[in-house]
């Protein structure tokens, strides 16, 4: 039987990873990810989890060891964020190119400088070109479920890609929530043992990570791209299967009161909960406002997103990172959406707002302000992006 308990989300994620019967965890501490790996090492120390915990000397070595472990055929997990992610990023490109289904929880945190341990999506966006699948959690329950789903999706023979499970640092990772940790037997049914297509096997030697000359490099890149492209419907299919078994249903893109909305807030992660409060309030005033939330950022669910937002006249797109590019380029979420809109020849008003950087609160009022700002703007008046709730 699965049990509902009140538990800190980080510990719940670690419990879920433990129930997935991982073989190797290699990780390095960084706030606010620490509780996840501390708890995993505890599970190993107490004999609840039969795994090797490799206490590496850096995140760079964490991902290096994960690559070695996954290439050896072991189910492999790590967790990091922010500076730790930046340090290991060289290897993240290699993990996906080697098609290794490592799962990594990222307790999203801002990047230095100034050094800041609080939540935003700088690390999530840093990772967007690395070829990993990126899942994004709104709640603790989702963080738990996405962790289990991460192994199942990544290890699917049709996918074979690493998966990043994003959960907002502190605002999710350190919250105590009532949530359901699935039963080990149910997880076992959903997640069969990992059978690698190819592993470092002395009885069957293979050369992994060779030199790719110009005559094959493009083909290698294309093959990898095909895998990420092909993963989108498979992720949706596995979400469905999960829903059937566990009763919690997930989609690539989630909507809240968006069907008839004139203004849609597009958002990722846990601040959707504040956004819902704002939407309920605005709806009570008769304003037709809704929310569309991206659960998957890579592969980008362009078609699903378009279907969810195409009825709206106004889009309020939130970015939780300053991706530097000068004044004429929107934030990363808005950029992707604008490119989808352009391809569909669809031209709603788009306001792009940079909010919640480095742990700055985003309030219900902020949402109302952003909605009003776009609704009342004339076409062509909105800048590429603007900061909200910032001192001049």
């Amino acid at each position: 039987m699965s049990k509902q308990i009140g538990i800190e989300v980080s510990l719940a994620v670690a419990e879920a990873v433990g129930l997935c019967d991982v073989d190797v965890v290699a990780a390095y501490p960084i706030t606010p990810q620490t509780h996840i790996v501390e708890h995993l090492s505890e599970l190993v120390a107490d004999g609840h989890l039969d795994a090797e915990f490799v206490p590496v000397e850096s995140e760079h070595s964490a991902m290096s060891a994960c690559i070695g472990s996954s290439a050896a055929g072991a189910r492999t997990f790590t967790s990091t964020c922010s500076q730790g992610y930046a340090l290991m990023s060289e290897l993240c490109y290699i993990a996906s190119a080697l098609r290794l289904p490592i799962v990594m929880a990222v307790a999203n945190r801002a990047l230095s400088a100034p050094i800041n341990i609080w939540n935003d999506h700088a690390d999530l966006m840093y990772a967007r070109d690395t070829g990993w699948i990126q899942l994004i959690s709104e709640s603790g329950q989702e963080a738990v479920d996405m962790s289990i789903l991460g192994f199942r999706i990544g290890e699917d023979k049709r996918v074979l890609l690493p998966v990043q499970v994003n959960l907002d640092g502190f605002t999710l990772s350190h919250f105590i929530e009532p949530l359901t940790i699935p039963d080990a037997a149910d997880i076992k049914k959903f997640l069969p043992p990992y059978k690698p297509a190819l592993r470092l096997d002395p009885d069957n030697p293979a050369t992994l990570g060779p030199v790719g000359m110009p005559d094959i490099y493009t083909e290698a890149r294309k093959a990898q791209d095909e895998a990420l492209k092909a993963s989108k419907p498979i992720i949706a299919e596995i979400f469905k299967e999960f829903g059937k078994q566990f009763g919690r249903h997930y989609n690539l893109v989630e909507s809240y009161k968006a069907e008839d909305a004139e203004t849609i807030i597009v958002i990722m992660g846990s601040i959707a909960q504040t956004a819902m409060t704002a939407v309920d309030h605005l709806r009570s005033q008769g304003k037709k406002v809704g929310i569309v939330r991206l659960r998957v950022f890579r592969p980008f669910p362009g078609a699903e997103l378009f279907n969810a937002i195409k009825g709206a006249k106004n889009l309020v797109i939130l970015d939780r990172v300053k991706s530097f590019g000068g004044g004429e380029i929107s934030g990363p979420v808005a950029l992707e959406i604008k490119s989808v809109l352009y391809d569909k020849q669809h031209h709603p008003k788009v306001g792009n707002f940079l909010v919640g950087l480095g742990g700055r609160d985003v309030t219900v009022q902020n949402f109302e302000e952003m909605v009003e700002r776009v609704a009342s703007a004339k076409i062509g008046d909105l800048p590429a992006y603007e900061f909200i709730n910032v001192r001049e």
Binding site: D23, S58, S64, G73, L91, P202, P205
Partner: protein, 322 residues
């Protein structure tokens, strides 16, 4: 007795009559003619055999053995990046440990090897190596030391010897080449408490292979620093690699020794040392050195050798018959 000496109690080494025929690194790779590094790699892997997983750092030995779709490797082999072979092998070893314990696989006697050049080891990969040695994984790490970044065109490393001209420590009107003394990686490995540390060179193949064999028998981390001449970078003849490597030992520039459970054993005593000038002569990287500089180097080489002798507890009586 420590874990290494225990494991080596009944050690039976290679000799000229029982050399293994297996060639885990097969011929046909793309090394330069006369490459001493690939010769060292070949000898080391002959001693390891094929029941191994090999993790390679970026560098000459990675590039020349793995141009897709060809491979020189008869063992499973994984290259990830330049600075992390020791961390990668840590992951491989941990995975095998967990999977053997959980009966997912049954390969308990696999040998885990990582190797890198001097740049990959003494410079950019030092942290990853330090971590792996400290954590005590059951691995063997080879540093193939050709005393510069050869793969990228002969740039200096912290393992480049004093006075050598490289493309980033060039000799010139105001420079005598490398201005710093060579970093002593073997001592750094010893300082980590690694149960087995040794130095070797392909000019003494039986010695090299026996050290590799011992490293494979010792539980825990083993480090072997292998002096590997590079005719392309050292600007010597393609038929001079072995001669130069032998001179390096005979001139005390590169002494051969083992450190087993922290105890030092000299592999060959240099009774009548040759002057360093003889070692320098075939190598154009040292051609610019003045007499005074040569004298300074000779002084430091002698001094370092004396320091090493003071640590030695036993000298190996058996001389290699070659």
């Amino acid at each position: 007795m420590g874990i290494a000496s225990d494991a080596l109690k009944n050690f039976k080494g290679f000799n000229l009559k029982n050399l293994p025929e297996v060639e885990p690194v097969s011929p046909g790779h793309r090394a330069c003619q006369g490459c001493g590094e690939v010769l060292a790699l070949r000898q080391a892997m002959k001693a390891i055999g094929t029941n191994a997983v090999v993790c390679s750092a970026t560098g000459c030995m990675e590039i020349i053995t793995s141009p897709f779709p060809q491979t020189a490797w008869r063992t499973p082999w994984l290259h990830v990046a330049f600075e992390n072979a020791a961390a990668v092998v840590s992951g491989v070893e941990s995975a095998f440990k967990a999977m053997n314990r959980k009966k997912i696989i049954n390969q308990p006697n696999t040998i885990f090897v990582a190797y890198g050049g001097d740049g990959a080891t003494a410079d950019i990969g030092m942290q990853a190596l330090s971590g792996a040695l400290e954590r005590g994984h059951n691995i063997i790490y080879f540093c193939f030391d050709n005393e510069a970044y050869m793969n990228t065109g002969i740039q200096r490393s912290s393992s480049t010897p004093f006075g050598a001209s490289t493309t980033t420590s060039p000799a010139g009107k105001k420079s005598s080449g490398q201005s710093t003394w060579k970093k002593n990686m073997a001592e750094i490995a010893v300082a980590h408490g690694a149960p087995y540390v040794a130095t070797a060179t392909p000019a003494f193949p039986i010695d090299l292979m026996n050290k590799v064999k011992k490293a494979s028998l010792v539980p825990g981390p083993a480090y072997i620093h292998i002096y590997s001449p590079c005719p392309t970078g050292w600007r010597c003849g393609i038929d001079e690699s072995i001669e130069i490597a032998r001179l390096a030992v005979q001139s005390k520039v590169f002494p051969l020794y083992e450190v087993i459970d922290g105890e030092y054993y000299l592999s060959r005593k240099v009774a009548k040392p040759k002057p360093v000038t003889e070692y320098f002569k075939p190598q154009r990287r040292f051609r610019h050195l003045t007499d005074a500089e040569v004298q300074y180097i000779q002084g430091r080489v002698d001094e370092n050798y004396e320091k090493l002798l003071k640590k030695i507890v036993v000298e190996d009586k058996k001389k290699e018959k070659e």
